[in-house]
């Protein structure tokens, strides 16, 4: 399988990449390529211009301790993230979630920025980005802007990254509470049929703050506000986890495909939410 023909570019700076995007309307950025290339081989994407970010790796591949948050360059690979002691210790939900993406070879190539800018509704990383309240740094010819996770994912393969913009950095707040990502893998592709990320803090026997996000179930990852409201400030018990998790798909039309119909997918989300809440509590 070959992709359709395209003109190849490999810029040496973010500014040059932005200029190339602005000059060539039908263009796509490629990072690790593990989401885009399969799509191009299926001819579901046929960009006329492909702008390879390989020469920007030395610039945009990093994990920096910034005091209250960790700054991760958009071209940082899953393997770099899953093997970072800083991320494992201060953003455990991200380390765990990316360790469940694809397989060893995919995690060697796939990048965090590429994945979330692609925004596959069955991708794992958006769940961790939402649950950890990360902030995305986006650059265009007009300068930089930041976008909160809650405003970043905008539906089916849609994000806040607009035409002529590049996702440069992901800022993940440090978090010392408990967290867990629970996923049901599609047995062939490894993508999430459903996945739930939970971050919570303990306040004695009660749940303090909590964030819950769901991927694989809707046209994009989302925060499960109903689950969060049912947990916040409450005394923890497994019964509470189960009753709160029942709100995991409130207001959501669950996706359907030949592998999982909406009812099954919704039930998976609720079950995984319950498991993730209990696991997060137990490691808080």
């Amino acid at each position: 399988m070959y992709p359709a023909k395209f003109t190849y570019h490999a810029p040496w700076s973010v500014e040059e990449a932005i200029t190339l995007m602005n000059e060539n309307e039908d263009s796509k950025l490629i990072a690790g390529g593990h989401s885009l290339l399969p799509t191009m081989k299926m001819r579901l994407a046929t960009p006329a211009h492909l702008i390879d970010m390989k020469n920007l790796r030395s610039l945009l591949s990093y994990i920096h301790d910034k005091g209250d948050h960790i700054a991760i360059g958009s071209l940082t690979t899953y393997h770099q993230i899953e093997s970072s002691s800083l991320v494992k210790q201060a953003a455990a939900i991200l380390a765990q979630t990316v360790s469940e993406v694809g397989d060893m070879q995919v995690r060697n190539m796939g990048t965090l920025g590429g994945s979330i800018a692609h925004a596959d509704p069955a991708g794992d990383p958006p769940a961790a980005i939402l649950a950890s309240n990360a902030t995305m740094v986006i650059q265009s010819s007009g300068g930089e802007r930041t976008v909160a996770a809650s405003d970043f994912f905008q539906g089916f393969f849609e994000t806040a990254v607009g035409a002529g913009e590049i996702l440069k950095e992901i800022r993940v707040p440090k978090f010392s509470g408990g967290s867990s990502y629970q996923k049901f893998k599609h047995p062939a592709s490894g993508y999430a049929v459903a996945g739930v990320a939970v971050c919570l803090t303990k306040n004695g026997g009660n749940i303090g703050g909590v964030s819950v996000s769901v991927t694989g179930v809707s046209d994009g990852a989302y925060r499960a506000n109903g689950v969060e409201a049912a947990l916040t400030g409450q005394a923890f018990s497994e019964a509470l986890a189960a009753s709160a998790a029942a709100h995991a798909i409130d207001g959501i039309d669950a996706l359907e495909d030949p592998f999982a119909d909406a009812a099954y997918r919704g039930q998976l989300a609720k079950t995984l939410a319950k498991r993730a809440i209990i696991a997060a509590w137990n490691n808080a």
Binding site: M1, D103, Q105
Partner: protein
């Protein structure tokens, strides 16, 4: 476009179409057909090679993106007639049946053992989850990897 890739220590400079995939470059431009094309969708792992030391699925990398890199394929494992310990493990433990998936398993195992020289059976199975054997010969593949790991750690190998 012109692309130069060092494969198993030898430089290959070729004029290729932009959309050429690394696996096609290796097989058709470099003539190294040990790397196999299986699913072509980055799932099966038959096309696994080392790209600057990292195991990658070469059906999902553009040759253009690999310009200027160093690639190791299965042809680069043995030293002359002396098999690499991983190849020896697959030979000794019958880690293959039809052999189609074997080059990919060998290359993925190189990375696995480099990162974890003494993996448990679970770690081997998890580490190689990106490689499929449709003969389902996984038990012997695990034994082959254990053999190779022990040999590479310099331990005596028990006979069967």
């Amino acid at each position: 476009m012109k692309v130069s890739i060092k494969v198993n220590g030898q430089n290959y400079t070729r004029d290729i179409e932009e959309r050429t995939l690394l696996v096609h470059f290796l097989r058709e431009q470099a003539g190294l057909t040990g790397t196999h094309i299986g699913c072509e969708t980055s799932l099966c792992g038959a096309c696994t090679v080392l790209l600057n030391g990292n195991a990658v699925k070469s059906c999902t990398v553009l040759a253009a993106s690999a310009d200027g890199t160093e690639v190791t394929t299965v042809e680069g494992l043995a030293k002359g007639n002396e098999l690499h310990p991983i190849q020896e493990g697959f030979w000794e433990k019958h880690g293959l049946q039809c052999g189609f998936c074997t080059p990919g398993f060998l290359m993925a195992t190189v990375q696995l053992l480099e990162r974890n020289p003494n993996p448990t059976e679970d770690e081997i199975r998890h580490g190689l989850e990106g490689n499929y054997c449709r003969c389902t010969g996984y038990h012997n593949i695990v034994k082959a990897v254990q053999f190779a790991a022990a040999k590479m750690r310099g331990e005596a190998i028990a006979a069967d």
